[in-house]
């Protein structure tokens, strides 16, 4: 490939930062001891783990003892939902009602569906065309048997940031546990568990410059969910398994770095994101997906009518651009993304989606290159599309 690689898929994953990597390295080799061991040699790992916990906690305005390390965001989401259900079952309530949204990540959605099979009732709140959940709708959905509200902080596909603080206030006023999947938010926008009034929050290290295979669940004291994973009793008996010390250290270092540089970096990223939005949403029969302003600073997402997303991605890949799509054909499913359908897009249009998510290593020249290439690929694909009327410059369908 003669093109440079332009990575515009930071919402999928990020490179481990130098800071994070350097913090991790000693824990693979020199300081490899098991934190549970008694001898002094293992204490270095134990100390590093607790430092990482404290560092992570301070970035979220939480207390160190409220942070539990997990294998990633998916485990944290599973634990939050299944853990609350089990906690209630232990208190004698073996069924109950859960409120979540139609646009959650599958880690939450599929866990909610699993709990439905177990006898729980789940309300999947709709979102508006910008992907926003209405806090009033959350309040209206509350029933006497509601045990949990779970609303994601920011959406992975369209970047919309939810009114978590408002929903948190409603949950607290009604004394209902509130979980937020903040996998896309942590390290990207300010997150404060006290301000948000959340009881549970999931995060994932590799979304903000940490390594893969590590995440965390914040659990507000005195809440103590029963463990999802049984074993040797690590993490105060809540999450067994030998601690991933390098992972935890790398994640915490990455988050601290992201938090320190966030204000300046977000100004830069938002300007680049808006340049993408201004350049691509004005193409004919193209539109921005997600909220125009309440969105993640690095995420620009679109649909282009008459074009299929996977074909768009493959052509962009040939030009050296890494991006993603919620089209059915970019996954094993026949339906386009549940998020795009939830914001009211017809199937035919949702198939033509493109997500560009920028990060620290994208300079403006790369955005300019993307702005040259995307319109060219869209025109090329439309030209060979039987649903695009070239003369009229519009799709042949009436939707």
């Amino acid at each position: 490939m003669s093109h440079p690689m332009i990575y515009a898929d930071h919402a999928a994953t990020t490179a481990v930062t130098d800071t994070a990597l350097n913090a991790m390295l000693p824990h693979f080799t020199a300081a490899y001891g098991n934190p549970s061991s008694l001898y002094r040699f293992a204490q270095e790992g134990k100390t590093a783990l607790e430092q990482a916990r404290a560092q992570l906690a301070s970035c979220l305005n939480a207390r160190p003892e409220e942070i539990y390390f997990t294998s990633g965001g998916t485990e944290a989401d599973n634990w939050a939902l299944r853990g609350v259900a089990e906690l209630m079952a232990l208190k004698g309530k073996s069924t109950g009602h859960i409120i979540t949204t139609a646009i959650e990540h599958h880690a939450v959605l599929h866990t909610a569906q699993y709990l439905e099979k177990k006898g729980y009732e789940v309300t999947y709140l709709p979102v508006d065309r910008d992907g926003l959940v209405d806090p009033a709708a959350v309040e209206q959905a509350i029933r006497p048997d509601t045990i949990l509200i779970s609303v994601m902080a920011a959406n992975n596909e369209i970047g919309t940031i939810q009114p978590i603080q408002e929903i948190g206030a409603i949950a607290r006023a009604n004394k209902i546990l509130f979980h937020t999947d903040a996998v896309q938010a942590v390290g990207h926008i300010p997150v404060d568990v006290e301000e948000w009034q959340v009881d549970l929050l999931s995060l994932s290290g590799h979304k903000f410059g940490g390594p893969k295979g590590i995440g965390a669940l914040y659990m507000k004291k005195p809440l103590r969910l029963p463990p999802l994973i049984q074993g040797g009793g690590q993490e105060k008996g809540r999450r067994s398994g030998t601690e991933n010390v390098p992972g935890a250290v790398g994640m915490a270092a990455a988050l601290q770095e992201a938090a320190e540089g966030m204000e300046a970096e977000n100004v830069r990223l938002a300007a680049l994101r808006d340049k993408l939005i201004d350049g691509l949403s004005v193409l004919p029969y193209a539109r921005l997906t997600g909220h125009p302003t309440r969105r993640l600073p690095g995420t620009a997402s679109f649909v282009f009518e008459g074009v299929e997303g996977e074909a768009l991605l493959l052509h962009l890949d040939a030009k050296g651009i890494c991006a993603s799509s919620g089209s059915a054909c970019s996954s094993a499913s026949l339906d386009p993304s549940h998020v795009l359908l939830s914001i009211g897009l017809p199937h035919a249009i949702a198939h033509g989606s493109l997500r560009l998510s920028l990060g620290a290593k994208n300079p403006e020249e790369e955005v300019d290159y993307i702005l040259e290439q995307v319109p060219a690929v869209v025109s090329y694909l439309r030209e060979m599309s039987p649903v695009w009327d070239k003369e009229a410059g519009k799709p042949t369908w009436e939707l």
Binding site: V307, E308, E310, A311, A328, H347, M384, P386, W397
Partner: protein
């Protein structure tokens, strides 16, 4: 990579893209809802397919199977084209991922739909083997159901 080199070659450099202004048979299959639509244009002289063009809205394998299918029937007789199967198209592309096999089905059906149109235009009865599972509908999408 999800796809074979051959699929990528036909996707990046599709053969026979376009329309035929005075086609003898035109067939369209697929459904915008499913995200795949193929339209085939045939020029037929006697019983030989002298030219074929396609337009496709769809993913990489939809474009590649359309391209390969057109190559496989160009210059062939109608009888030969009628025997083209989706498996043969997929095989000629060195295989497709399991969840993309429906694209090859669409390519086979698009050719059959265009041939059926050719018979209809001539006022002749459409041979039974060219009838598609959901012929009554405007857009055929048997692969999705």
């Amino acid at each position: 990579m999800l796809y074979s080199d051959k699929v990528m070659d036909h996707f990046e450099h599709p053969r026979n893209v376009g329309e035929i202004a005075e086609a003898d048979g035109v067939g369209q299959v697929g459904n915008p809802k499913c995200g795949d639509i193929m339209k085939m244009y045939l020029k037929i002289d006697g019983d030989v397919i002298t030219d074929v063009k396609f337009k496709t809205f769809g993913c990489g394998s939809a474009i590649a199977t359309s391209s390969m299918a057109t190559e496989m029937i160009k210059g062939k007789t109608i009888a030969e084209a009628m025997t083209l199967t989706n498996a043969a198209v997929a095989e000629a592309l060195d295989g497709l991922p399991a969840h993309k096999m429906h694209c090859s089905v669409l390519a086979e059906e698009a050719i059959k739909a265009a041939l059926a149109d050719y018979y209809r235009r001539k006022g002749e009865e459409v041979p039974a083997e060219l009838r598609l599972p959901c012929e009554e509908e405007e857009h055929c999408c048997s692969a999705c159901h």
